[in-house]
């Protein structure tokens, strides 16, 4: 029982990171109708920026905010400069540009910061909270921060004029433009927000898996799996999906002997294909009806 609880909590901690990635994926999907394959590498790059700020002696929480701000600006710039020319051409063109971005971020990070793994500090104390045996403080922190980010996203979309404009631009760009919303900027804003959320995910996961240019590959995959499981059209569903994938993955790794820790990624693959085949809209997503 104790082992089960421990596994569940550590699954929840990983799930928090996946949930953040899933949320970032859903943000871009909501704003532009695309899956950004470069999302993981963008988050990794943001984390390296945070790492550099910390080595310059900036306090952790200032670094946290600064890295988010820089990522936001970077995300907006990438959308305006690099993604804009191919936007709305074809899925193939867009995916190719995303893959190009992925390769560039990965190798530039390797170029600047080299491929050796680096430790990344956690803002939370080392000793477990209230002396409990099940869950580390960083794990709890990850879960907490994820929920805070989700709540902030909810507030932003529900109660601010900009959030409303973004939802309108995503749902019906033509009508949104007619009522005076600058749809192009809303897309850029979506990219910026997604980059900032990705940065949070990167900074949360770096203390657990260590910082290196390839750290986000598998995490992005779990993020996709979480987003699909919860429903790619529903941010709260995506967060639930992220947590669910984290717990499932840890429990399956611990209790199903032939999977172990080695086939975890294959598990994500099977999960993704299964969700896509049996319930493409996910658990809480809306069924999108296509007109032909």
């Amino acid at each position: 029982m104790e082992l089960f609880l421990q596994q569940t909590f550590s699954g929840l901690a990983f799930g928090g990171v996946y949930a953040c990635m899933a949320l970032a994926v859903v943000m871009i999907y909501q704003a532009t109708d695309h899956l950004n394959f470069a999302q993981g590498e963008m988050a990794m790059f943001s984390t390296y920026i945070a790492y550099t700020l910390i080595t310059w002696g900036v306090p952790y929480w200032w670094t946290f905010l600064l890295a988010m701000a820089i990522s936001f600006v970077g995300g907006v710039l990438i959308e305006r400069v690099i993604v804009r020319p191919v936007e709305g051409t074809s899925v193939l063109n867009e995916v190719i540009v995303f893959i190009g971005l992925l390769a560039i971020f990965n190798s530039v990070a390797g170029w600047i910061w080299e491929y050796t793994i680096k430790p990344f500090p956690s803002p939370f104390p080392k000793e477990p909270l209230f002396g409990n045996k099940f869950v580390g403080t960083h794990d709890l922190g990850v879960i907490g921060v994820t929920l805070v980010v989700l709540f902030a996203v909810f507030l932003f979309f529900r109660f601010t004029p900009v959030g409303l404009a973004m939802r309108a631009a995503a749902q019906d760009p033509a009508s949104a433009r007619l009522v005076g919303i600058r749809v192009g900027w809303m897309l850029a804003l979506g990219w910026g927000l997604a980059a900032a959320i990705g940065a949070v995910a990167g900074m949360l996961v770096a203390p657990i898996v260590f910082l290196e240019p390839n750290m986000m590959g598998s995490i992005l995959l779990y993020g996709f799996a979480g987003a699909l499981l919860g429903g790619i059209t529903n941010p709260a569903g995506a967060v639930f999906g992220g947590f669910a994938v984290g717990v499932l993955e840890t429990l399956v790794g611990a209790y199903v002997p032939f999977i172990g820790s080695e086939l975890k990624l294959s598990f994500a693959l099977v999960l993704i294909v299964a969700v896509l085949v049996f319930r493409p809209s996910g658990l809480f997503g809306f069924v999108v009806v296509k007109r032909v």
Binding site: S90, L92, N106, G110, W111, S218, F224, S266, V277, P280
Partner: protein, 342 residues
């Protein structure tokens, strides 16, 4: 999105119509003969190491052609071709290492296994379109290296260590080096596979594939069995990539899980985009790009290869979306047009 994507589709369609015309013109014949003669003479002109590199060019050319059949002609997307390449490579390595088969028997075996694997993966992929197919195949290629390291398969795959195999000698007492022999062997296989692809795509099957790409609903209405064609295309595409993997394993004499990461899929994709989407001869340009760009880029920095790949991908998407082969065709069309006008 619909309107603009149609314009891209029609551009692709024009190119495909040109590239896979039912009969070859005299110019195309002379081009092919010149290329084959050049290919046959090449090993005599360069060192053994260069010959080895050109063998890899042919190998990646076949892999790129495999992806091209799927993406360029059938409109299905795959980021997972590193998985099929890996299956082919491991089939060859295990057959040669464990069961001591001759290297040439491994190619049909790799082809058949990949055909089946691709067909099976193509079945669920039927329900997935565009983006979702990209996602599922992305998952496939991320999961592949981990699967190859799996404990219970270590007896055959050698785990993290991989498998080392021995380079074959030239048969019939031919007095040429191993590298040269392997180059000619690969060259013949490549010609055969390219001919088969051309033959497959120029007729009824090819038209069905393109119809599915351009308008799946209309294709179905015309009586094309879209499900069968799409999953078979996935199988054939995997077959090409698998044979390339087997040839690559024989040439490099070594397979290990970390050679078949997601970045191999990216490399094949880069080759297809730069060589020319939906063009059979462009695939060889793709092979050249895959082999020689990293060589050039590594002179700047170890990490620069991927940055160069990425930058090239994006630049080609902006300025030459039909790749090098599309550029050559366009240039040729422009030249001849001007001649007629004057």
């Amino acid at each position: 999105m619909g309107v603009q994507s149609q314009s891209t589709n029609s551009r692709l369609r024009d190119l495909a119509a040109l590239a896979s015309g039912a009969k070859l013109s005299r110019l195309q014949w002379s081009g092919i003969v010149a290329a084959v003669v050049f290919g046959l003479l090449l090993p005599l002109l360069v060192s053994d190491y260069r010959t080895f590199q050109f063998t890899l060019v042919l190998v990646y050319g076949i892999a790129v052609l495999g992806l091209n059949i799927l993406t360029g002609f059938n409109g299905q997307f795959s980021l997972g071709h590193s998985a099929f390449y890996a299956i082919g490579a491991y089939t060859a390595a295990i057959m040669m290492d464990q069961w001591e088969f001759a290297y040439y028997w491994t190619l049909p075996a790799a082809g058949v296994i990949c055909l089946v694997a691709g067909f099976l993966f193509g079945l669920p992929a039927l329900r997935l379109e565009g983006l979702y197919l990209a996602l599922a195949t992305f998952a496939l290629s991320i999961a592949t290296p981990q699967f190859l390291k799996y404990d219970h398969l270590e007896k055959w795959t050698g785990g993290v260590q991989g498998v080392t195999i021995i380079k074959p000698d030239a048969p019939f007492g031919l007095q040429i080096s191993q590298d040269n022999w392997l180059y000619y062997f690969t060259f013949v296989v490549m010609l055969l596979l390219f001919f088969c692809a051309w033959n497959l795509l120029r007729g009824r099957t090819g038209r069905a594939l393109k119809a599915i790409r351009d308008n799946p609903i209309a294709a179905r209405a015309m009586g094309i069995n879209t499900a069968l064609y799409k999953s078979l295309t996935f199988g054939v595409s995997a077959l090409y990539t698998g044979v390339a993997g087997a040839l690559g394993a024989i040439a490099i004499q070594f397979v290990a899980p970390d050679s078949f990461t997601f970045f191999l899929s990216v490399a094949i994709l880069v080759g297809m985009v730069i060589g020319g989407i939906g063009s059979i001869p462009g695939s060889i340009f793709g092979g050249i790009v895959i082999v020689f760009i990293p060589n050039l880029a590594e002179k700047i920095s170890q990490a620069a290869a991927w940055a160069a790949y990425g930058t090239l991908l994006i630049l080609f998407m902006y300025f030459m979306p039909l790749g090098i082969w599309g550029f050559i065709r366009m240039g040729y069309a422009r030249l001849t047009r001007r001649r007629k006008a004057t």
